[in-house]
């Protein structure tokens, strides 16, 4: 059996390694055009900031592929013929497969701002190795930058640019930073922290027009008529499934916002799976699901590997959790905080004078989620409390058990102002 995996990101690589664990004899080939070896996309910012070399971004030693007998092909897939079960690569080679896994990942959203098409230099995204190359090429000559977007990638790029001494404007369309995950108070804390780092934060304003001179980016003009000049325009307005190349294929699987798969990651073409950021999971009882988190891609890849060998495992997303870091503020979220309707009761604790707060969302009798900023928390304990349907009183009493700070450095949970209000 020849398993061919398109995409050497975390979903595809997890699938390949798990398939190898399962079957020592199957032929496994991973095709990926972005880089020769699997690298950790989440660490791009650390390479940009000189904390790591490019080689350090590779989570596995290079001889793993030889030892585990997994073939790597560095190329892009230009065509797929489902009848012949065959892929054609940009380099001219064709690869026949028995099982195909599409782990194409995601790509940066492209805005349609007026004037953007005339800009040839100075516009960057920050999701791929090629983006990192582009960013690094621009930094030496840049003095000012404008980063558009109110999410995680935006704040990462801002941090990198600030590190390189570039005066940066962070332009956020929403009334405050990342309303999809943070409350207004939490966001204001993050924005205050950004301003301490010298970032010019602009909220509730969006790009109307992009100005350039001789193809070089010069400024953005916002809907409120303000003009922000810069040498670099960072576009970080989210990602979407990376389906562009698939459109030219002879047989492309059905797709909506992502490649449509069932809960076993099967596409509408027999023998073809899709997983990771590029897929949209159709679920019979709940709405379609798109997950773009590191651990979800790992889980997808692992479930695909089992289904390839006939285990018949349906994917079940876990209680949601995630973590991040906004410059120096650490952030842990667990449970259904994002989609809690307005007016959901919360307990909000804030440590005066510090960028530290905890928000516990509950429905009156049981806790449904947590947003914790400024100190470290153990997601395992918080998830357990959500699944055990613990009461707010219980959680408050035991809160210290979920702390995950360094030794001697446990955040003091006393002396926090506390409010119980709908947020």
């Amino acid at each position: 059996m020849h398993i061919v995996i398109v995409g050497n990101g975390i979903a595809g690589i997890t699938c390949a390694l798990d398939a190898r664990d399962r079957d020592a004899s199957a032929r496994i080939t991973v095709v990926g055009g972005e880089t020769e070896y699997f690298y950790s996309r989440t660490a791009l910012m650390y390479a940009f900031m000189d904390k790591m070399n490019r080689r350090d971004l590779e989570p596995l030693e290079r001889d793993v592929w030889r030892k585990r007998n997994i073939g790597l092909v560095t190329d892009w897939v230009v065509d797929h013929d489902a009848d012949k079960r065959e892929l054609k690569l940009a380099g001219g080679r064709t690869i026949a497969y028995d099982v195909l896994v599409l782990a194409l990942g995601a790509t940066a959203n492209k805005p349609d701002w007026e004037g953007l098409t005339e800009v040839k230099h100075g516009v960057v995204n920050f999701v791929s190795m090629q983006d990192l190359d582009a960013c690094e090429a621009m930094v030496p000559s840049a003095k000012r930058a404008v980063v558009v977007g109110g999410g995680l990638i935006g704040i990462e790029l801002v941090e990198c640019l600030v590190h390189h001494g570039i005066a940066t404007t962070f332009l956020i369309r929403e009334p405050y930073y990342w309303p999809a995950a943070l409350s207004r108070e939490e966001s204001q804390m993050v924005i205050a922290h950004l301003r301490e780092q010298g970032v010019e934060v602009v909220v509730e304003d969006s790009v109307q027009r992009v100005e350039s001179s001789g193809g070089r980016f010069t400024a953005v003009v916002t809907s409120s008529g303000k003009r922000y000049a810069g040498d670099i325009l960072g576009v970080c307005i989210g990602v979407r499934a990376n389906l562009d190349r698939m459109k030219a294929w002879k047989s492309a699987p059905a797709s909506r916002r992502g490649i449509v798969v069932d809960e076993r990651f099967r596409t509408d073409i027999a023998g073809v799976f899709a997983c990771g950021d590029c897929c949209e999971i159709a679920r019979p009882t709940k709405g379609p699901l798109i997950e773009t988190i590191w651990y979800s891609a790992k889980r997808h890849g692992a479930v695909v590997a089992r289904n390839i060998f006939g285990d018949d495992v349906a994917y079940e997303p876990p209680v949601f959790f995630n973590s991040s870091k906004f410059f120096h503020i650490e952030f842990t979220t667990v449970g259904d905080v994002e989609s809690a309707p307005a007016g959901t009761p919360t307990i909000f604790r804030h440590r005066a004078g510090q960028h530290v707060c905890q928000r516990i969302v509950h429905d009156g009798t049981r806790v449904i989620g947590f947003n914790m900023l400024g100190s470290r928390w153990d997601n395992e304990v918080l998830v357990r409390w959500v699944t055990e349907r613990r009461s707010p009183a219980y959680v408050l009493r035991h809160l210290a058990e979920a702390q995950h700070d360094v030794e001697f450095g446990r955040m003091n949970l006393q002396h926090s102002t506390r409010s119980r209000s709908p947020s």
């Binding site: 390694l17 350090d56 001494g165 973590s323 997601n379 030794e407």
Partner: protein
Amino acid sequence: MRKAGVRGWLLHDVTHRGVTAWALSAVIFTFYVVLYFGGQYGVPDLFSPWAERLGLSSKWVLYGALYSLAIVLGGCWMLWKYRHNRYQVVRTTVVMVVQVTLGFSVPQMLKQAGQPEYYFSYLWPLKIDYFYPDSITSLPWPYVVYSVVGALVMVPVLGVFFGKRWYCSWVCGCGGLANTAGEPFRHLSSKSTTSWRFEKVAIHTVLIAALLATALAIGSALLPEESPIVAVAGQYREIYGLVVGAVLSGVIGVGLYPIGGTRIWCRNFCPMAAMLGLVQKIGRFRIRVKKDMCISCGLCSKYCEMGIDVRSYAQTNQSFTRASCVGCGMCAEVCPRGVLTLENVTRNDPQEAVRRGPGRASLPIIT
């Protein structure tokens, strides 16, 4: 990418094995060769005249003062850099205080007071001399008791409860220099499986060599003086002192800081670290990994001075105890997702169990 400007270039060059790093390495290398071999083998003795001019009793006092100064200056910088991390603040403060007192001024004061120049912060088998019969017979009995009880009881007992970190990154002067003045070079240690394999062979070889040196020395004190073993023991002891004491710990151990990272000595050659590593494997210390939160960024591995591929454990949700880990806590500090914590608990964790088969390196998720 490196920062712009001359400062950016220099900072990158010196911390990434550039020209300046090699030059610095050559300077430190020369310093140690002159220090250890000055006055012998045709090497000029540059430090003794300076020590004399400063009114110090020997070049070793001058060296001790310089060493302490490096730890204090580097330590102050560490305290500033990691001021948000209480573990680093406490640990660095302790290491600075121990060096200035037990590692330098206390032995000098003892000597002034007519007592032996005794270093309470160094124990057998690192300070192998303290088990040699001539030390045992010449030192007053309280020192001998401390030497023996300290090395054979205190070191392993504390090791069981707190891991080797209580010594290697809180007390020891070698670790002290690495964790203060050596901070800019900590990321240079090799993380490859090959260097792990080398480390295991090298460090246990030195441990056996140290045990042999001690056994021969003690044995020869009990044998008649004309026994051939006595002559062999004398020669062996001299070679051990030269190779391990001077070349491996000083010339190579510190000389290679800018090229191979700060813990070359501690990781590959220190007999004390070897012994404490064995204790650590059965003790309570471990690094705990928070489930499923690792994003495989690799900062933990990059900044591990002992060359442990921490990421390989973190991304497979494996709490672990590695014999070489000195518990400096830097993996936990740099982790952007707060995945790692150091802790002392009684729990049965896998020891060095990350690779189950040849080349095993999967990224499993517990479902």
